[in-house]
Amino acid sequence: MTADASRGAQAPPELVQLLTPEGERVEHPDYDIDLTPEEIRALYRDLVLVRRVDLEAVALQRQGELGIWASLLGQEAAQIGSGRALTDADMAFPTYREHGVAWCRGVDPVNLLGLFRGVNHGGWDPAEHNFHLYTIVIGSQTLHAVGYAMGIQRDGAVGENGAATIVYFGDGATSQGDVNESFIWASVFNAPVVFFCQNNQWAISEPLEKQSRIPLYRRASGFGFPGVRVDGNDVFACLAVTRKALTDARSGQGPVLIEAFTYRMGAHTTSDDPTRYRVQDELEAWKLKDPIERVRAYLFKNQLADQAFFDEVDAEADELGRDVRKRCLEMPDPEPLAIFDHVYTEPHRLMDEERAAFASYLSGFETEEGGR
């Protein structure tokens, strides 16, 4: 068996970090960030609000209102940091856990719930937010992101004021053929794409050493582009590293792989039971590195926010949670004939025939009931 020294409580030396778990600002030779107090408070607010939405969704699932939910607990900094590095022109391709990125892209959190409630397979227009639909098949979206980036190249939109794509995936996904093919494509075509891997240490029950013998960010060198490992629980570092990678990609310097070293503090999904495969001590160690607490500590210590601010954000979070809950419960079930909608873009005879036949079948019930 191969032991992976990169996993565990000790932060590996190559980790880019700008804010320690204790809330101390530290310097890094290659990455820096200059944030106004207002910007830092805004990041804090993002982190708290997305955690609250996530918490509400878990509760909704426990109460039977959602079929399943994939919690982002613990990964807020990776998602908010990278999500806030994007410009409007950039395009993001998520997995099914990117609720924080969705928040940054302006997607209504309630729209995320449709998929998990079972009323649709994806409830938003990707072009409206430059945020693609959640992709459930592991790694498939990496190729879509690279293809989209090739489209950006063909539109002449690389260079000054250029655009890039960012694609999210997890540590488990790095074993998928599609992810490796996407690395090859991006490299060969020098596509403006940032690969943002949230290494949350666990692919359901399988720890990282089942996926890789080397730190994931080092995979990039074999494909011919830079890789960097960032403290995924440090929102400053995630923002700085992603900004740099996106700037490089937009200006035509090609792809970058970012490994955000983080931890899935919750279960894989609400159907999962992590007590069967990991020890409580590991979770406790990571709790000390919580992505929100360190920003709070930094704001507090540096007197950039007072208690009133924190209370205000908490109140806003509670209100958001209530609103998400209310509108989730109001989400109507689709009509039965919606099964046939949008399967094809252009008219399709078989859909028309089957829709009509099914409508006729259903109307038979109405007649019977009406006749009683």
């Binding site: 994806g122 498939s140 090739m150 063909r154 996407s182 909608d341 873009t345 005879r349």
Partner: protein, 326 residues
């Protein structure tokens, strides 16, 4: 009118589509300088450049996956899968992504991607180069599946497929690539609809349903049957999904007998769907059960055996004879 091989007709069709719409791209393995292993994309990269005719890395999932991304950005990619047996690495992208993404978006997204697949046997090739995987794709909702059988259709159908806003799996009968026929390259707006079947030889005694490479085989069988005094009607299905059930039923109701011919294995093949539909639609007109001629329910054999595997004139006529024994 001009005389073209089926391969050249596809080439000219793609060229026309690329001239008409700058968003049309061609991508695949060896499609650029080489012009594809069957030369179907010959000369396109020279005339349209490497940005529009893309030699891709050697990975089929990557071809279709990046084509999806390009389509999301507003392009209309035409992917070449080099051989039928190599489509399977791309099957996940085709089935879970290409076919379902428009539905997943509740209609916000469209994916005008064409996946060209040279299909079928008869060229003496090694394993994985002679297969007929159409039933995998007809069974996948969200895809349109078409098969051309002759140069004139090839020229029009490839352009129609490229213009279509749905993903289209486009089967090309590889052993007919070199067949020549007159093609009217001027009749763009009078094209026969992409989703309609066509009677390519009228007859009165038996309906033969075929598509792709088997259309020619059936036409030869009909010519031979005529000498024996039997009149076979050949319907070229052209579109497998959606299926032109009305045209099929109209023919079978007239003839009362039907033989389905395809290269793919009979068991679980597309012919089963045809037989079931015809039975439902034409029950009172049928003089005999719908019979199927196809490959045995085995993997495609080594090429020295393929003449025994592939339906030929004699096997088609044998089935026609059986249709008169009920």
């Amino acid at each position: 009118m001009t005389t073209l091989t089926l391969a050249k007709a596809l080439n000219e069709g793609m060229r026309k589509a690329m001239e008409d719409d700058p968003k049309v791209l061609v991508m695949g393995e060896d499609v650029g300088k080489l012009g594809g292993v069957f030369r179907v994309t010959d000369g396109l990269q020279k005339d349209f450049g490497e940005e529009r005719v893309i030699d891709t890395p050697l990975a089929e999932s990557g071809i279709v996956g990046t084509a999806i991304g390009l389509a999301l950005r507003g392009y209309r990619p035409v992917c070449e899968i080099q051989f039928d047996g190599f489509v399977f690495p791309a099957a996940d992208q085709i089935i879970t992504q290409l076919a379902k993404m428009p539905l997943r978006s509740l209609g916000a997204l469209k994916l005008p991607v064409v996946v060209r697949i040279p299909c079928g046997g008869g060229i003496g090739a090694v394993e994985h180069h002679s297969e007929s995987p159409e039933a995998y794709f007809t069974h996948t909702a969200g895809l349109r599946v078409v098969a051309c059988s002759n140069p004139a259709d090839a020229y029009a159908m490839i352009q129609q497929a490229i213009r279509c806003d749905d993903p289209v799996i486009f089967f090309e009968p590889k052993r007919r690539y070199w067949e020549k026929a007159e093609v009217d390259t001027a009749a763009a707006e009078e094209w026969f609809p992409l989703d309609r079947a066509r009677v390519v030889r009228p007859g009165t005694d038996v309906t033969l349903l075929a598509y792709g490479p088997m259309v020619k085989t059936c036409l030869e069988a009909a010519a031979a049957a005529e000498e024996d005094g039997r009149s076979l009607e050949i319907v070229d299905l052209r579109s497998l999904n959606p299926l032109d059930t009305a045209a099929i039923a109209e023919s079978v109701r007239r003839t009362g007998r039907c033989v389905v011919v395809h290269e793919a294995p009979v068991f679980g093949g597309f012919g089963a769907e045809l037989a079931a539909r015809i039975t439902e639609e034409c029950f009172y007109s049928l003089e005999a059960p719908v019979l199927r001629v196809g490959g045995p329910s085995t993997p495609y054999p080594p090429s020295r055996l393929e003449e025994h595997y592939l339906p030929d004139l004699d096997r088609v006529l044998d089935a026609v004879d059986r249709a008169f024994t009920f």
